[in-house]
Symmetry: D2
Subunit: 268 residues, 4 copies
């Protein structure tokens, strides 16, 4: 382990702020990313985006390449998904973000999307981290489902070391023995990162709980733990979402969260 | 498993509210318990209690019987600790709470204290749960460090079934692979319990993080996750606390937490 | 933590050997404990004991006091269970072992049984550990389901410090994220204990796997990891066992295990 | 999830046996892979290979691309490492195996090595799994450090579905709360796989324990749990190994393991 200070540590410079469209992540205003788990088709994506923009969501998410446990499950629309995201992003004027899983897709993906997500299952994919480190795009680095905070910030260091300091850490829940919730959202890690490191951190209460009825509470808890933003799975008809339905919330719930986040912003 | 509804489930009755001195736990006002990890001596306990009462803490905690990993470590002042708690409680007019570890101590302990804590390591001590279920005192039931929510609420059911419905669930962090924090505070569990069960739930951000610099953030996060109260280790000189020093906060920090909890209460 | 050597450490004396009937646990011959999860009634217990003795099992186990997650589940025959164990033990000339959960039961229990088990859920019940430490009986100390090796051997130290060095450590699986097996049998811990500590260690492949089809393999793996013995749940009709049926094996399987353990003994 | 049978399940065909040089993995004879954690230089690799071949090791391992937590730690000799492995493999007539981390390296790597390892941190790298599935080489698929058995066999399914059935599952320990050992070797998983699936499974007692003094016991325990082989880190001078020194064993210890594995083979 390098004994000198890491780029990710507080004493290596001022806290990093990242431009997300016309907003800045890492400042007083909390930035909210939202969208369906997977890009299903153009119409849904467009409808969802229009509604989300209207209620104040800052950036759109949607999976084009889906990392599924089983090779027989829907793998995502892939390139077509990127095309849909690009169109919808343009038409609504929203920043779009999606997960990229393969080093060979990094370069051309940036012709379609603005922000690259490194999924939880790829946090240790060091080849991929180095590859996105050579771009200039903001990178949402999801914590590995059983990654220690140490491994997580070192993963960020892999990216930053290549020249890209626009790393957004994302706490999305860790794997534990508990079975009532899909993962255990580790807000300690959010508070710890705000104390010790320079990077902004957002919270994903969707994967973090796996239950839509807990998303509101845990979004607000995440903000109070120190999160700079949230990334939440939403859909016009959650019950019909092609994946992650159980944790996806509807537009009304999204609107309530945004409203309450604004209230918390004022008092923080 | 019993197929009928459990006493602890929401459809078994209205949400349970518990009298803590002249306050009610389970209503809008968040109840705060605080005090040192261990009762060290009369003077410290008295000074701490006086200060805590002054800043608005509702009930005093302090360990008389300490469950230590090693038999060679300070086991607590035991009976003398109970005596100190009783005196200090009387002199300051504060409700006092302490952990009881042995079935044989339950009955006489209530001559000294008002609230019995079942520690994390004793959540599965069914003999002890049945014993405290036969009293009328409020019982703080700390979640086992690796107990599932299911096991935890069934442990509460052991107590309630004996006739004592005054069970206060306490989330104090679970054991995970993470080593930067002492435990992983599982606020999902707090939100889940508020959704599905009748019992009030409080959060212990002290054991839950193990780091005093995270106690403030995680206290507020806990409140937003839905907690009815907090239980926090505090001391006049945390550095000198005989145990759990690293996670113990000082009076100034306690005051700040209480102030911010009040602010959150208003907006909730 | 005490800086001097612990009683449980190798440099505090020679390896501890414990008399189990006319056998010695801790020597070349592996000692096998077996019996049903719960003492169900006299006839079953007697039949099982007779068969087990015949195939070479050294000591009988059976639960009289069952630590159940739910208070509505069968709690065991309790005192009546002790009476059955005593009778059957006498009639078959077998050593009997059962779990005791309450400090108040320790003394009289020894009028009925020879060996006291401290269950996984009570490994941190320090009052109980001290109490059994004041007896002379062999104590099977099951590892807490999420107890570190350190906490486990310190729990043994609690017992030894009171004067009773007859502590048998029992690895019975730890709680992890894996759901296909009930627990994760941690044989590393068995090998580690044989390297560093003085106490004998046995393996429970029944709770350790939760699946009867894995009990044979894991028994033999446990022996090769260094275990001094095994403790296995068996029944004449496993499908009809009142608890833990899924992991209970029949007499034929027990016989096969004993036979293969003997073979391994020769080559070790 | 696909409801039909998976290629990896027993009812999809007979158990899969894989050619490793002139040996068959999956039959009575246990196959042993060994070598240093990292390819350090040509001389060491050559010396180690010569000695390992002499004592009966079947295939050589050595890391050319090292997945390090920190980007500042030795990343491996990379392409030069592959060249060394190829030379040494040829000169000693040994099968060589190394980890490949990037989809772009898969094709050319097979000009240098015989077997590709997918490391624990890349078990969820579905792009990489599909890529190696399109080759004909044997693939050692290490279990993710917190991957469930289900996710693990589905990862194997990703590879097999592309046409490559030569998948060797490797249990290398899972991440748990225990800190005395580096990982917790989950031999239950080995026994479970032999019961339910068609693929051969080998055990890595080096990463699985992290302590060289436990490697012998856990190797033999792994064989009794049902493993078809072992993969062990060894070095002429473990203390001087550039990485993983603490778990690396010397040639004398390797010889002892091979000898005892042969003995176990006879009695199984």
């Amino acid at each position: 382990m390098k004994m000198n200070k890491l780029l990710v540590e507080k004493n290596s410079g001022s806290d990093i702020k990242i431009k997300i469209g016309n907003k800045i992540l890492g400042e007083k205003e909390k930035i909210v990313f939202s969208g369906p788990c997977a890009v299903e088709n153009y119409e849904n994506m467009k409808d969802i985006a229009v509604k989300l923009k209207k209620i104040g969501v800052h950036a759109l998410r949607g999976g084009a390449f889906k990392p599924r446990t089983s090779p027989y499950d829907f793998q995502g629309l892939e390139k077509q998904g990127l095309e849909i995201l690009k169109s919808v992003g343009k038409e609504t004027g929203m920043i779009v973000s999606t997960e990229i899983m393969d080093t060979r897709d990094v370069e051309y993906a940036l012709d379609y999307i603005d922000i690259i997500q490194i999924g939880s299952r790829n946090m240790y994919n060091y080849s991929l981290l180095k590859e996105v480190g050579r771009t200039k795009a903001p990178i949402i680095l999801k914590r590995g489902m059983s990654a220690s905070i140490k491994e997580w910030v070192y993963a960020a260091e892999y990216i930053m070391r290549e020249g890209n300091e626009n790393v957004i850490l994302c706490e999305r829940g860790i794997r534990t023995f508990e079975t009532y919730t899909r993962n255990t959202l580790d807000l300690n890690a959010v508070a710890y990162i705000k104390e010790k490191y320079r990077l902004p951190v957002i919270v994903d209460p969707s994967h973090g709980t796996g239950l839509r009825e807990l998303v509101h509470s845990m979004s607000l808890a995440g903000i109070m733990a120190g999160a700079d933003g949230l990334i939440i799975e939403s859909h016009i008809n959650p019950e019909e979402a092609i994946s992650d339905s159980r944790q996806t919330i509807n537009m009304e719930s999204m609107e309530k969260i945004l409203k309450n986040v604004k209230i918390l912003e004022k008092i923080i």
